[in-house]
Subunit: 198 residues, 2 copies
């Protein structure tokens, strides 16, 4: 228990990561101490590099090494569509799926009166500015299918109505590979009411 204060502080910081508690943080730190040269020091270096170089894209809210991210900088992605997501994690999920070729707009959260998150805390004004600035035709709302997510979607749609842009949202329905027996009532109701000609 020597060098003790630093190690305890390190465990304390690690324990604040989502998915780690005090116990698993201790295990992780011990693991790192054993792999000092192959893991601990490279991890420290990379965290420091990322922390210093990566910031938020001023246009869309994505993570970026410059003021404007690669996606916003790419002319190929300027197809008139913008996909509105809650969080950078959702943007990553869309990119991993390789299903969308337009640009993104990261709101940075959802409206949540309980957590004191109002419209001013989300990047909605910037989204409205982008519609004219980038000549957007369609705004696709890809927010989580939760109460907060859908409330936010309605709010954004209402805010954008005066601009005349087409606002759409991800379809709700039976997930691919999903079994009806295991689906919740809300999903079944949504899937039924959005049924399509076969």
């Amino acid at each position: 228990m020597d060098g003790h204060r630093d190690i305890e502080a390190l465990i304390g910081l690690m324990a604040r990561l989502p998915g780690l508690g005090p116990r698993s943080a201790r295990r992780a730190v011990l693991h790192l101490m054993k792999k000092r040269d192959s893991q601990l020091l490279p991890l420290a270096q990379l965290m420091s590099d990322v922390g210093r170089s990566v910031r938020t894209c001023l246009n869309c809210g994505n993570l970026s090494t410059g003021d404007i991210c690669n996606i916003c900088n790419s002319e190929k992605r300027a197809n008139g569509q913008v996909c509105v997501v809650e969080d950078v994690a959702d943007l990553w999920a869309m990119e991993r799926a390789q299903v969308f070729s337009g640009r993104y707009h990261v709101l940075g959260g959802t409206l949540s009166p309980l957590d004191d998150i109002g419209p001013d805390d989300l990047h909605i004004p910037k989204l409205r500015d982008r519609i004219a600035a980038e000549g957007l035709r369609e705004v696709i709302l890809a927010l989580n299918a939760t109460v907060d997510g859908q409330t936010t979607a309605h709010y954004v749609a209402r805010e954008l109505a005066p601009t005349g842009v087409t606002v759409s949202s991800l379809a709700q329905g039976v997930p691919v590979g999903g079994e009806l027996d295991y689906l919740d009532d809300g999903t079944l109701r949504a899937a039924l009411s959005s049924r399509k000609p076969f």
Copy 2:
């Protein structure tokens, strides 16, 4: 997905920590990106500090900022007893419990033929040296109550026999607060055969 390569590398390194997988590593990294100044950079700094300053005590195998750890340096802990543990984590567990006032000896693992860990990979010769050097009276084996742990305990006890030092081991029995109904057969058998006058 800009600054992408560094972030992906960071996620990859985080995913190698015990208790984190690729998905939770991604969550943790995003969390850190959002708390850049309060968590990411301090964590990077602390990891780097700890990685550079903390090493293994040459005497007992504990983590230490110098060649010899605080416990080995403290005259108060020189009570003639040494507690043999498998890992630094076990040493920490003993210290947290504040039940032992002697010194420690960290073996650095257990004998495990399957993992190709033999006697030469553990710090057993050093332990034998310490018996004479520190005038030890008792070696307390605090190894895990697993097959590997107990095999190692027997091996260590046999190695130390020629020195004449007293070798003891932690008692096995019903854990405090334990209910008989939930205990495994092995624990019940050990508790019964080690029964004490009431």
